[in-house]
């Protein structure tokens, strides 16, 4: 079976992998690169658990063919923290108890980062609409929304 | 003596709404009930297919639970939760 060689940048690192045509970028990230943070909740772009930022845009990686990532710059949940410090969103999610089972958490963090990159001072309503493509069945979203709003404050006004 | 209360369904087997039984624990009680009312399926308690409520608490797998003179006992189906 013929496989395509894909070269791209993931979380700042140059990487390459071989993939079958028709394979999703989500499966390539998970199986070829071992980046398991993005999850498959539906495979149809409805739940957002596989969210990544690709070339500056929030995307469902289950809806992207792996070869489409050639030459792209990708951020996954694993790329949010530095070696010694969590991203403010991650820290606020922890302190705000914004996760229960945690399966949707990587997707929410990425979607929230995409929002705050564009709009550093969102209203509650703007947060709710920006996260409307991400499903969480555990929390009722209350603590997620509060944590994103708190992270926005922290990013705007670093200690 | 502990008092066993029967549900509508169970009364079809017992003919009475309640009965007072001298029993030290649930195992003893169930064996007496089975002897009195063979069709009641009281023995199902011994396989946890039937639970027992004692003084308001539903106990899914009773056996050695002690009974007192004031115990109120019901045979109920075991529960399941989410």
């Amino acid at each position: 079976m013929s496989r395509t060689h894909v070269t791209c940048e993931v979380n700042g690192d140059a990487v390459d992998f071989l993939t079958e045509d028709g394979e999703s970028l989500l499966n390539a990230l998970r199986d070829e690169l071992g980046l398991i943070g993005a999850k498959e909740g539906c495979g149809t772009g409805d739940c957002g658990a596989c969210s990544i930022i690709m070339n500056g845009r929030l995307q469902c990686s289950c809806l992207i063919f792996a070869p489409e990532a050639d030459g792209a710059a990708i951020t996954t949940c694993e790329g949010l923290a530095s070696a010694d410090e969590l991203h403010p969103l991650q820290q606020c999610f922890l302190e705000g108890a914004a996760l229960q089972c945690g399966i949707c958490t990587p997707g929410f963090l990425i979607a929230a980062k995409a929002l705050l990159d564009e709009n550093p001072d969102p209203t509650e309503t703007e947060v709710r609409y920006a996260l409307a493509g991400n499903l969480c069945r555990c929390t009722g979203y209350d603590k997620i929304v509060r944590s994103v709003l708190e992270a926005a404050v922290q990013i705007r006004t670093p200690a | 003596m502990a008092v066993v209360h029967f549900s509508t369904d169970q009364r079809q087997h017992t003919g009475v709404a309640e009965i007072a039984i001298e029993a030290a624990n649930v195992r003893d009680l169930v064996r007496q009930l089975s002897a009195l009312y063979p069709s009641l399926d009281a023995h199902l308690v011994e396989t946890s297919s039937t639970a027992v409520a004692i003084d308001g608490e539903i106990i899914p797998d009773p056996w050695l639970e002690e009974l007192t003179d004031t115990s109120e006992v019901y045979l109920v189906r075991p529960l399941a939760g989410g």
């Binding site: 409805d46 108890a97 209350d142 | 797998d61 529960l79 399941a80």
Partner: protein, 757 residues
């Protein structure tokens, strides 16, 4: 110490004011970092060397006899290493729970719902497995099917099981039917009660089947070796259940199976059973390689869950002073393809939030050609509460009473009889009703154009078996190992209780979920039991350790153990002749005083206190589209004692939002030919962030006397009130009472239009 303050505007209680040092605080959860960093391993995240992918072929028909299965073409396809069908599994007994489990995992002679597993393939890649599964040729003889309760209960209905005779009817019927069981609870004389009532209201209600909707599809990896041993990595609500159920389905001894719990991506009751593990085990045995099966979302909808739909007829009588005296209820619940206890549970719950002199409750459990019911958070209670609390609201309106005052007037207390017979233990319903009545939300003026609804809900809660092992490490830290999968923050709760007992900082305690070979038997995380029952085992093990620590201190000091007290994490010499010994000082010296310190407790927890919740919502209804918008929502729930208030609030908020989804949008929609038409999150619409306001919480704490810290399970009851809350709020906003859920835009619009004309 790393505790965080309560976020503003959530919770009025659970603030650690109870005199405890750790219980009631809000530390960052121990497993949190892995989960925000994307490192936490769920079952689908595991890959093993040489691993194959399994794919399950499912029936496209709702009811059919399997005439033959030809796997020869599939076996010859590239990459295929093993194929199994029902014939490879042990024969199922003719009836009972074991048959239901075995025949749900894989169909035998008949398929009973569209999506029923028929055969499976293991191959080198996902695509090869799928292609080969689709190449299996199954010849079906189609049978007539039934998809709803009324059709299934009809005299001439096609019968699913020719050996199913209604239980609870005397004499027992001699003809099989789809009515698996009839349940009756009665007290007093309902006819007399209605005769004496000033007001009698009679209504019929219906609710639709809904899915638990956990975001993680079922997944497992199974590795069987040449000696017949299997290691299973699975996402479930109980790995001991996975072990026993897999053994049952395969006819294996449980000792052949080790189950390692993966992180679980949501369950809500839906992962209290198994679907795929025995299939993967048999494929792995045949192939001699590890096999991974991950269900697709479509398969999750078609073949797992759901919670049942129901039809409920209520007749309720009350006096003009607002006293509810009499209720007659007829309930029928879908069971799915095999018999369950949904209607029985509905019967037990339907009038539980009320004291009644006269009641007659009759329920029917009905099988039909849909996937088998699985528990979903307080199973059966939401539909029952929808019926009763809708009628109660009408009574309040008729007698001109505030709906909360009416509920307070009729609420049971300790010692009152439950509808199913036994007397209530200590319960917190009245406190929840009063908490909502006194809440800022209920005291606020309702904004123009909106409607306000209230309702209450009940759920039993369950105890069951739990085990915990607590090991003290040489540096004075502790490891707490339990057998309860952490579905929503229970590791943190276990650590908090251990911290309180031992007097250790909560972050010096490492809570671990142990596999089936490192910790004692523990029942499924269900019935809101983990923090209650497993927490009880943790406390018991810690108390054992405190005794051991006192003895070690006594040995160190060469004094009588009676002279040693355990205070705030240190051994203190009563007579005061010795400097206190910290826990770390004792464990550091443990080899000299008798060896390492550890304790294990296993118990069958008694006294899970019943749970109640009372909720209020304000809604607006778009007159042009019928869309219901939740403008404000407040929930009060009796937690007994909140161990980690943030996760208590989380359970309350999550339950509420699932209930809102059930009330407003979610429903299984079947085509006439028996196929699910909305097996995806696009068409099966669960609530998203933009649908909702903040969910305000009031944690009521009426300590449960059966638990060392007063814990009552909090996981389930929150889903019960939202169904009637939404219906009551929509009725208040529009003047139109809708008795069929969901209150989706087309249905609301239809009702508004009908009311106008």
């Amino acid at each position: 110490m790393s505790t965080t303050e309560a976020p503003a505007n959530t919770g009025t209680n659970g603030n650690g004011s109870s005199g405890y040092r750790w219980v009631g605080t809000r530390p960052v959860r121990h497993d949190g970092l892995d989960k925000v960093a994307g490192k936490a391993r769920y079952a689908a995240d595991l890959n093993l060397p040489g691993m194959l992918y399994g794919h399950i072929l499912r029936s496209p028909h709702p009811h059919a006899r399997i005439v033959s299965i030809d796997t020869s073409a599939a076996e010859a396809m590239p990459g295929v290493k093993a194929v199994v069908t029902g014939a490879d599994f042990p024969e199922a007994p003719p009836k009972g729970a074991t048959r239901n489990l075995m025949c749900t995992v894989i169909a035998r002679d008949k398929v009973l719902y569209s999506g029923h597993a028929v055969a499976a393939v293991a191959a080198s890649t996902r695509r090869e497995a799928k292609a080969a599964a689709e190449a299996i040729e199954v010849t079906y003889e189609l049978l007539p099917h039934v998809l709803n309760i009324s059709d299934a209960m009809a005299d001439d209905a096609p019968v699913l099981h020719d050996n199913l005779f209604t239980r609870g009817v005397e004499p027992r019927p001699t003809e099989p039917s789809n009515v698996a069981a009839r349940t009756v609870y009665e007290r007093g004389d309902v006819e007399q009660g209605f005769g004496e009532a000033d007001i009698v209201i009679e209504r019929e209600f219906s609710t639709q089947a809904v899915h638990q909707g956990y975001i993680e599809p079922h997944a497992c990896v199974v590795d069987c070796d040449q000696e017949g041993k299997a290691v299973i990595w699975a996402s479930s609500q109980g790995h001991f259940m996975v072990r026993s159920s897999t053994a049952t389905v395969l006819g294996w001894d449980t000792s052949r199976i080790k189950v390692i719990p993966a992180e679980i991506g949501g369950g809500f009751g839906g992962k209290t059973t198994i679907y795929i593990e025995p299939v993967a085990a048999l494929l792995s045995t045949k192939a001699g390689r590890p096999v991974k099966i991950v269900m697709s979302r479509e398969d999750v909808f078609r073949a797992t869950g759901p919670a049942p739909g129901a039809i409920i007829r209520m007749k309720v009588g009350a006096r003009n002073d607002g006293t509810i005296t009499t209720a007659k209820a007829w309930l029928a619940y879908e069971n799915g393809a095999f018999q369950g206890i949904a209607a029985m549970l509905g019967c037990m719950c339907v009038v539980s939030a009320y004291t009644l002199d006269h009641l007659y409750v009759e329920g029917f459990d009905v099988v039909l050609n849909r996937p088998v019911n699985v528990a979903y958070r307080a199973p059966s209670a939401p539909a029952a509460a929808f019926a009763m609390d809708s009628v109660v609201d009408e009574i309040a309106e008729r007698v001109g009473m505030d709906p909360l005052d009416l509920r307070i007037q009729n609420c049971p207390s300790q010692g009152d009889p439950t509808p199913y017979g036994p007397k209530w233990p200590m319960i917190g319903l009245r406190e929840c009703l009063e908490a909502i009545r006194d809440s800022d939300h209920y005291q606020s003026e309702l904004p123009e154009g909106q409607g306000r609804g209230v309702a209450s809900g009940f759920w039993f809660n369950i105890g069951e078996a739990s085990s915990a092992t607590v090991n003290l490490n040489e540096n004075g830290t502790a490891t707490v190992i339990t057998g309860s999968p952490d579905i929503g923050g229970s590791r943190a709760s276990m650590a908090l209780m251990a911290a309180e007992e031992l007097g250790l900082d909560v972050h010096l305690i490492q809570p671990v979920v142990g596999d089936t070979e490192v910790v004692g038997f523990t029942d499924v995380t269900e019935g809101s039991r983990a923090t209650f029952a497993t927490g009880m085992a943790v406390v018991e093990a810690c108390r054992d350790l405190k005794e051991q620590l006192r003895k070690r201190a006594a040995k160190t000091w060469d004094c009588d153990v009676e002279e040693v007290e355990w205070v705030d994490g240190s051994a203190v010499h009563g007579p005061g002749e010795q400097e206190p010994l910290t826990l770390a000082a004792i464990t550091g010296n443990a080899k000299r005083t008798g060896g390492p310190l550890g304790a294990t407790a296993s118990l069958n927890a008694r006294g899970a206190g019943p749970a109640f919740s009372v909720q209020v919502a304000d809604v607006s209804v778009d007159q042009e589209t019928g869309r219901v918008t939740v403008e404000r929502y407040t929930t009060a729930q009796d937690a007994g004692t909140a161990i980690h208030p943030s996760y208590v609030e989380g359970q309350m908020q999550g339950g509420v939002v699932q209930g809102i989804g059930w009330a407003l949008n979610e429903e299984y929609i079947y085509s006439d030919d028996g196929n699910l038409e909305n097996p995806g999150f696009l068409d099966y619409r669960i609530p998203v962030a933009s649908d909702l306001p903040m969910i305000e919480t009031v944690i009521v704490e009426v300590p449960n006397p059966s638990h060392p810290y007063g814990v009552r399970g909090v996981g389930e009851v929150g889903i019960v009130p939202p169904l009637p809350v939404m219906a009551n709020a929509v009725a208040d906003a529009t003047g139109v009472r809708i008795s069929d859920l969901p209150l989706s835009p087309p249905r609301v619009l239809e009702a508004l239009t009908a009311a106008e004309s």
